[in-house]
């Protein structure tokens, strides 16, 4: 089939896109009935290789269009336009417990998409490669500016959208793993929201003083946004995942300084001791360590540490006092935090208080804890290093099932952006801003 080798044409549009943009993968000049495998390969920053693949058979049109044609098998099946990204998993022989995260957002994620002859499942390097292209996936849109922030002893990075502004602002918090994780803030800035990624567990100030930060640290971060000449001080939101959601709820309800236009809590809970510093949330976990149990694969399930949801009001944020719209994103198979139960309890509290019109809950079946931006490779469990002193590493079960979780990531992100847009930009219902998602 020598001629086939010369003729097969592979194209991916766009070749350079934002990480949450869809692409179209097209293979042309095939013979009807021709069997091929489309393969995606990515080498992450740690040097590990991730791959995905799918089997297709060309029909009479001699074209395979991944957005329209079904995969007959591989790391995903059926019609899945973005399956080559979200079904990426470590190549055979990789270390266990890997999780995919881009720490350097100034360079793109490079993915090599290739077409191989036949329905292959392994040993791709030895197969007949027909065509290959490189695709770039960016967290930062052109013109987005990355500004490290150290004022107020913060460890943070501000991402300003392209253009003169002013822009609405957002404080972005990740979870218990700590570190300064920038990619979601970079992506939000690419959508017109000036976003501050904040390290609050492993911040410089904590490394220097040994003490965990408190409410004033977050209030300082809020002020940095509020006072920035290119940010609209009255249009600031907060978005937190996991532990970050706990902080978000605490600030939204109790802080005299933080005045949020809206809040988003992903995979979080309102259960926390409300008197006392943020550190107490950690203490609560430490007290309940015996509630961690292992599944049959020796993966740690932490969700019971916060169960049952307490009835004592001093042990949970009084969401009945919330004055801004709140979006909760819940994975019903979250094995790490009891987000589903917490969401139910929060709704009850808000209904009793009469402010439940502010609440929107997005709840997804078979979806786990790590609800990331769309097309992020899914991991059901991964190696987790605590920020305790001394730190220890365990294999944590996040939960979720590949296809449902990936669909949930896409849906939740789209709805989160609509929620933020409506509350921060006000009045925009349709449009191009997020039309490619």
């Amino acid at each position: 089939m020598d001629m086939k080798q010369h003729c097969v044409k592979l194209s991916v549009q766009p070749s350079r896109g934002l990480v949450d943009e869809k692409f179209t993968v097209l293979v042309q000049n095939l013979l009807p009935g021709f069997q091929l495998t489309i393969h995606a390969l990515h080498q992450c920053e740690d040097g590990h290789s991730w791959e995905a693949f799918a089997h297709y058979t060309a029909d009479a049109t001699s074209i395979v269009n991944v957005s329209q044609d079904p995969s007959l098998g591989g790391t995903y099946s059926g019609v899945e336009p973005m399956g080559l990204l979200w079904s990426l998993r470590p190549v055979p022989g990789s270390k266990t417990g890997l999780r995919w995260r881009k720490m350097n957002v100034q360079t793109p994620m490079g993915v090599t998409i290739s077409v191989y002859q036949g329905h292959q499942t392994e040993g791709f390097l030895d197969q007949v490669l027909l065509a290959s292209v490189v695709v770039e996936r960016w967290y930062m849109a052109p013109g987005v500016r990355r500004v490290p922030i150290t004022e107020g002893r913060l460890t943070a990075t501000l991402f300003l959208p392209s253009g003169p502004g002013p822009f609405p602002g957002l404080l972005d918090l990740w979870g218990g793993g700590g570190k300064l994780v920038e990619y979601r803030a970079a992506l939000l800035a690419s959508h017109g929201i000036a976003s501050l990624a904040l390290d609050y567990l492993t911040a410089k100030i904590t490394r220097e003083t040994g003490k965990m930060v408190d409410n004033d640290y977050f209030e300082t971060a809020y002020r940095v946004l509020e006072q920035h000449p290119q940010i609209l001080g009255s249009r600031i939101a907060m978005l937190g995942l996991s532990f970050g959601a706990s902080v978000t709820l605490r600030m939204a309800v109790y802080s005299q300084v933080v005045k949020l236009r809206c809040a988003v809590c992903i995979s979080g809970s309102h259960v926390q001791p409300i008197d006392g510093p943020v550190e107490q949330i950690n203490a609560l976990f430490n007290k309940n360590i015996d509630k961690i149990h292992l599944d049959k694969d020796n993966q740690s399930i932490l969700r019971d540490m916060l169960l049952p949801i307490p009835t004592d009001p001093s042990l949970k944020v009084d969401v009945g006092r919330l004055q801004c719209p709140l979006l909760l994103v819940v994975g019903e198979d979250d094995q790490n935090w009891p987000t589903y139960e917490s969401a139910i309890d929060m709704r009850e509290m808000m209904e009793r208080a009469g402010n439940s019109h502010l609440l929107t809950v997005l709840s997804y079946k078979n979806t786990g804890h790590l609800i990331e931006p769309p097309f992020t490779p899914f991991v059901r469990a991964s190696s987790f290093r605590t920020v305790t002193n001394p730190p220890f590493t365990m294999m944590v079960l996040w939960g979720g099932e590949l296809v449902a979780h990936s669909l949930a990531q896409e849906d939740a992100w789209r709805k989160t952006l609509v929620f933020l847009r409506e509350n921060l930009y006000g009045g925009m219902k349709h449009g191009a801003l997020f039309s490619n998602l």
């Binding site: 549009q13 290959s132 292209v133 770039e136 930009y425």
Partner: protein, 476 residues
């Protein structure tokens, strides 16, 4: 509430951030960008009291190839209000190029450039890409400018802004409502760029990503000279291993002494590359590059091009001799140069009348590969259309006219560039060491349409001849 407005200089079209671009494992360039806001200003026009937030302008895709279309949209505008969409680009020579269109927002406060009509500006009507192809140097610029990307490893940056009202000029002195930066690339990810310096040949070879082998192209520009890589980079991004050849007005190559053998050697460098299909190498030229292509296709016993794409070329050159010799002949007709009302030089007369004497022309009857001619009816530099007509007659007489395809575009000029490139009607040119302004011709809108249409047809032609099976009649 306070409306504080500090007028400031131009939008940040000088723009820097640090990043490294990996091109298929080959480090292309570390480019430094840094953001420079000439003056910070505070614009509180959209304060906490307003119901809606600030307008947002967006471009999809935000990073695209230069020949890819984009969609420009503005949202969150006041309903039914007049606005101006504006684009600006600072070239590598530090000149500013701009375009703008006048619109009205609809009942939702949006403007979609791809769907709405511009009622004024540098373009009118429904023109999705008008903000690029209608660009021209900003008022006060030097005369006779031409926009050509020299560094193809980094993108062309274009800033798109929206202004309140129907603005006709003075964009630097006003604050836009919103703006966004977009990148336009000549090189797709994974394309490799290889400098060529062998056997006396100078050029740059671009290889597509993938296992190959690929069809190849020798890409030749015209009498402007130098080494222009941008079209070869784009061709490679479409799957053709392409070498941009340096042969004219070059510090590296003694043009006057060049004979056909130089081009034969260059062609063979492409043909012999391990990732190129040796029986599928074509020629791609514009102006002088087309003349070379036609000559090679007819006269060379050494190279056998698979096909030829000849933009704005002609065939009225006698065989043999050096390029220098060709030009000496050409300049014997200097008295036929006319000047237009702006004192721009019109050279097309120098090539007329087309001689009847076959020894004064390339013997196109000897061409035995498909050849595509792309010409503009308003070419003021070269009588390309007349020449194409004569070529057709010669080929008809010789029995190989079936190899010829002619595209001719009304009101298009000489410089038929890749799509969305601004129209260059008259630009500076070095003639015998002297700077003159040559009239290339064309009217902007039809010329831009010609650029778009011809590019599509060129690729269909290349696909047919370079990628398909050897017998074109087998394809239904």
């Amino acid at each position: 509430m306070n409306l504080v407005r500090i007028s400031r200089g131009i939008l940040s079209s000088v723009y820097f951030t640090t990043r490294q671009l990996q091109v298929s494992g080959h480090k292309c360039l570390r480019l430094s960008h840094y953001t420079k806001h000439l003056k910070p200003w505070i614009h509180r026009g959209f304060s906490s009291m307003s119901h809606t937030g600030p307008p947002v302008v967006s471009v999809h895709p935000s990073r695209a190839m230069v020949d890819e279309a984009f969609k420009v949209q503005v949202e969150n505008l006041p309903l039914g209000s007049p606005v101006t969409l504006h684009s600006v680009h600072q070239s590598e020579d530090k000149d500013y190029w701009e375009a703008f269109g006048h619109y009205f927002s609809d009942h939702r406060g949006t403007v979609s450039v791809a769907d709405d009509l511009s009622c004024g500006g540098t373009y009118t009507g429904k023109e999705a890409m008008g903000l690029l192809w209608s660009m021209r140097p900003v008022p006060g610029s030097r005369e006779g400018l031409r926009l050509r990307k020299l560094n193809v490893c980094i993108p062309q940056l274009v800033n798109i802004s929206v202004y309140s009202g129907h603005v006709g000029g003075g964009f630097r002195e006003q604050d836009p409502l919103a703006s966004v930066l977009t990148e336009r690339w000549y090189m797709a990810p994974g394309v490799r760029r290889i400098g060529i310096k062998e056997k006396g040949v100078r050029g740059t070879l671009f290889i597509p990503h993938g296992p190959g082998p690929f069809p190849g192209l020798l890409d030749m520009w015209g009498g402007g000279g130098g080494l222009l890589e941008y079209r070869a980079a784009l061709l490679a991004s479409h799957g053709y291993a392409s070498m941009a050849l340096e042969y004219f007005n070059s510090a590296e190559v003694n043009t006057a002494e060049l004979e056909l053998t130089y081009f034969e050697t260059a062609f063979n460098i492409v043909r012999d590359h391990p990732q190129v299909m040796s029986d599928r190498v074509g020629l791609f030229g514009l102006s002088l590059g087309s003349i070379v292509s036609i000559s090679l296709a007819a006269w060379s016993s050494v190279v056998k091009p698979r096909c030829c794409v000849c933009i704005s070329g002609n065939h009225t050159y006698a065989r043999g001799g050096t390029i220098g010799g060709v030009f000496n002949e050409f300049f014997k007709n200097l008295h036929k140069v006319r000047m237009d009302e702006n004192n721009y030089e019109i050279w097309r007369g120098m090539g007329l009348p087309i001689p009847d004497d076959i020894s004064q022309k390339v013997d196109v009857g000897k061409i035995n590969c498909p050849i595509l001619l792309v010409n503009g009816n308003d070419d003021q530099n070269c009588p390309t259309v007349e020449s194409a007509e004569d070529m057709a007659q010669m080929m008809r007489a010789a029995g190989n006219e079936h190899l010829l395809t002619r595209l001719k575009y009304p009101d298009a000029g000489h410089l038929i560039e890749p799509p969305y490139s601004p129209h260059f009607r008259a630009t500076k040119f070095l003639k015998d060491g002297q700077k003159v302004i040559l009239l290339w011709g064309g009217t902007t809108k039809p010329h831009s349409d010609a650029q778009e249409d011809s590019w599509k047809k060129i690729f269909a032609f290349l696909e047919q001849n370079m990628y398909s099976s050897s017998d074109p009649r087998a394809k239904l």
